[in-house]
């Protein structure tokens, strides 16, 4: 993905794509256009049927009330949007989503980084731990949910038994609105960790060892080596991981559906889950479309901000 960014092309050499070479006759130009149509046509067709059309339709539906069959029936302008921003339940979903996304992204990257650094050490049996650290990648959401549901069970779960043994106050992880989001965050971070670890570990392994040897000779401490050499050099990877984690976090659905169904008291009813509830449970496609449009706008805005702010600090 990163290779395709324009910065990789050499600025001294004029790009070949911009200046068409060898198009000196009208027939060849026509032929070229034919090729363009042939190559782009199929993908444009597929994109427009499966991406652009649904997007436009969603925007259209967001301005309507929809009937039993999901057809637009009463035009209401922007009142779906206005009602949503007046609805305290929706606003709390919005708040919960931001808390969730930020917490998940930060925790995943920090913990993934820690694991990657640990896995880089040349210790006995480290290969086993490398496999272990990346193992959550191979676990499906449903299996993880079942595993964590057992762990969080307030009567027979591991956490309950630990707190009982230590005479700590019992926490009802999934039923207490103060803890449910935390429980989901913990579970998601655990799920994401394998992927993040693998990518960051790969990036660290690729760094040239000569740099660290030179730093070693110059007497640079290990900590300074990490912050001054490793971190800047893997910044493109970090940036990539950050964006992927962030967008994935916005789209989290499976764990919530399986563990809390958005409850208790909407504490874990994140934006995507709300869209699903309104569309496929309540059959309210108009409202669900409105929520989708808002969610898309938020994700687009955040990604843009990230490119603008962080893109400058990333050294490729």
């Amino acid at each position: 993905m990163l290779e395709s960014l324009p910065k990789h092309t050499n600025p001294e050499e004029p790009s070949k794509e911009l200046v068409p070479v060898g198009l000196n006759s009208a027939t060849e130009w026509r032929k070229d256009r034919l090729y363009v149509a042939l190559f782009l046509g199929p993908s444009l067709l597929i994109l427009s049927v499966f991406v652009f059309w649904p997007m436009l339709k969603t925007m259209y539906l967001s301005l309507f009330l929809t009937d039993n069959f999901g057809h637009a029936s009463v035009f209401v302008g922007f009142s779906n949007y206005l009602n949503l921003f007046k609805n305290p339940a929706y606003l709390s979903s919005l708040g919960a989503t931001f808390v969730y996304v930020i917490a998940v992204s930060i925790l995943t990257i920090i913990l993934g980084m820690v694991l990657a650094v640990v896995a880089q050490q040349h210790l006995k049996g480290i290969r086993f731990f490398r496999t272990l650290f990346s193992s959550t990648m191979g676990i499906s959401v449903s299996v993880a949910a079942i595993f964590w549901l057992f762990a969080f069970n307030p009567s027979v779960g591991v956490f309950a038994q630990i707190s009982q043994a230590l005479h700590l106050p019992e926490i009802n992880w999934l039923a207490d609105p103060h803890f449910a989001l935390l429980a989901i965050i913990m579970t998601t971070v655990w799920m994401n960790l394998g992927f993040t670890f693998l990518i960051l570990f790969g990036a660290l392994q690729q760094l040239p060892s000569s740099l660290f040897e030179a730093a070693e000779i110059a007497g640079v401490s290990k900590t300074a080596q990490f912050f001054k050499i490793s971190l800047p050099l893997i910044s493109p990877t970090l940036f990539f991981v950050l964006i992927v984690t962030l967008i994935e976090a916005f789209k989290s659905f499976g764990l919530i559906d399986l563990m809390t169904v958005g409850g208790p008291n909407n504490a874990t009813n994140l934006l995507v889950y709300r869209v699903y509830q309104d569309a496929f449970l309540n059959g309210n496609y108009g409202l669900a479309s409105t929520e989708s449009v808002i969610l898309t706008a938020i994700i687009a805005a955040i990604t843009l901000i990230q490119f603008k702010l962080l893109g400058k600090r990333v050294s490729y």
């Binding site: 009937d67 069959f69 069970n153 039923a175 208790p264 309210n284």
Partner: protein, 445 residues
């Protein structure tokens, strides 16, 4: 040129091989009319449905019932609505209780009453409370099928061990409080007394059992609902009852949804929870999961007021109106088949859903079950004693799913300290808005 010539022959040869095969398949299908049956059952329910289809197909040679699993109840409703009128739509389908009003107003099915009248089918053999749920204006819309009722489960062995008197079979809230408190004190807090899941279906039953309507026009039985009431004396008393148990520490909150149900069942089977309220459909799982003796009572009612009876839950069978007459007729034959006394008894024994044919109770398969587990009879007795009225026949309104989400959230708020009035007011406003929007979007007057 030569190569092309050969390919041409190859193509022709393939065609000659394939064509007769297709024709064969066609003639075989033509001899029997296909009846596609959509359902949403998993586990033992699905196995039993396949068994029903097999037995039905073997019992005659005109129709071929093909059962197809369609995912969850909610997903199925959307599929039914969106495939209607196309070749992909089913001839007969199972759809959940709360979708009844929506499917009725969408006009996707031939009313069951039409078939009943034509064949003079004796509906009186089918449970009146279950029928009432799926009727409108005295006419049967769909046929009640897999049916459960909420009941109260308690661990009879724990009660015996701790020397606690069992609750009466028709308990009031304070009867249950007494038992819950005793369990919790006598076990020194090791066993939690009681839980009531945050669940809109249970909220509805608190109202039904108190003879209260959730929606106006008698829960939608005399007209399309335009207003709902959630803050009533019945719901107030029920929520205060839960709160008093929370306050005394005898109550444990497992939250909402599937995880809450699996958690409360896990705790109950492990002997760490004394009492819980849940669907009678869990009975087989509970009987199989523990050596402890299972106790069952009716749904608890208000103190000093008799129980009005609770509504049913589950799903019913519908016959699509977009299929030819002979397909509809075959679907109706299949519906009659699964409603027979024998099939219903098999259904209850296999799944825990209640047999709806009143002659099923005498069937040997159920007699044997009751002999082994006397408590297994309680849900059927509760169903049999209820006199159907508009308060205990379910809410005939579109947007019951929203109602359940909203009341579930209200329960979560109340359990976690929000004042009852405030939580119910929020849910009531949310639901009134949703109902107004639904009526407007579908042009209901």
């Amino acid at each position: 040129m030569k190569i092309r010539y050969q390919r041409w022959w190859l193509g022709l040869a393939l065609l000659l091989i394939v064509l007769p095969l297709g024709a064969c398949a066609r003639t075989q299908a033509a001899s029997r009319t296909q009846i596609v049956f959509w359902h949403e059952m998993t586990g033992p329910g699905q196995d039993q449905l396949k068994q029903f289809a097999k037995e039905f197909n073997a019992s005659q040679d005109k129709y071929q019932v093909v059962p197809q699993y369609e995912g969850s109840y909610n997903e199925a409703v959307q599929k039914i609505l969106h495939t209607h009128g196309t070749s992909a739509s089913p001839a007969v389908f199972q759809s959940m209780d709360v979708s009844t009003s929506q499917l009725y107003h969408a006009h996707v099915a031939t009313p069951m009453q039409k078939f009943i009248d034509k064949d003079n089918f004796d509906v009186n053999q089918i449970s009146p409370v279950a029928r009432a749920f799926y009727s409108q204006g005295g006419k049967q819309i769909s046929m009640p099928f897999n049916t459960s009722q909420p009941v109260l489960y308690y661990n009879a062995s724990v009660l015996k061990r701790l020397g606690i008197k069992a609750p009466p079979v028709d308990p009031s809230y304070s009867d249950i409080t007494r038992v819950a408190k005793a369990i919790s004190t006598k076990s020194h807090g090791k066993i939690k007394g009681l839980t009531v899941e945050e669940y809109g279906w249970l909220f509805e039953q608190f109202m039904a059992n108190s003879d209260e309507h959730l929606a106006n026009h008698e829960d939608g039985r005399t007209g399309i609902p335009t207003k709902v009431h959630l803050n009533t004396p019945g719901t107030q008393e029920a929520m205060k009852w839960v709160k008093s148990n929370i306050k005394s520490g005898d109550f444990i909150d497992y939250g909402a949804g599937g995880q809450a149900e699996s958690n409360e069942i896990a705790a109950f089977l492990a002997g760490k929870l004394g009492i819980f309220i849940q669907s009678s459909a869990y009975i087989s799982q509970l009987l199989a999961g523990t050596k402890d003796q299972l106790g069952i009572t009716y749904y608890p009612h208000r103190n000093g007021k008799p129980a009005n009876g609770v509504a049913i839950g589950g799903a019913s069978l519908w016959i699509g109106n977009d299929k030819p007459k002979d397909v509809q007729q075959g679907a109706w034959k299949f519906v009659q088949f699964v409603m027979s006394a024998k099939a219903q008894a098999q259904w209850q024994a296999a799944t825990g859903y209640l047999a709806l044919n009143k002659d099923s109770q005498a069937q040997p398969i159920l007699q044997k079950l009751y002999q082994k587990y006397p408590a297994a009879q309680v849900p059927s007795q509760q169903l049999a004693r209820i006199k159907a009225n508009t308060a205990n026949s379910g809410v005939f309104m579109e947007g019951v799913i929203q109602e359940r989400n909203l009341t579930q959230t209200a329960m979560a708020q109340i359990y976690n300290g929000t004042p009852i009035d405030k939580a119910l007011a929020i849910a009531e406003k949310g639901l009134n808005d949703a109902v107004a929007n639904t009526n407007r979007a579908n042009h209901y007057k």
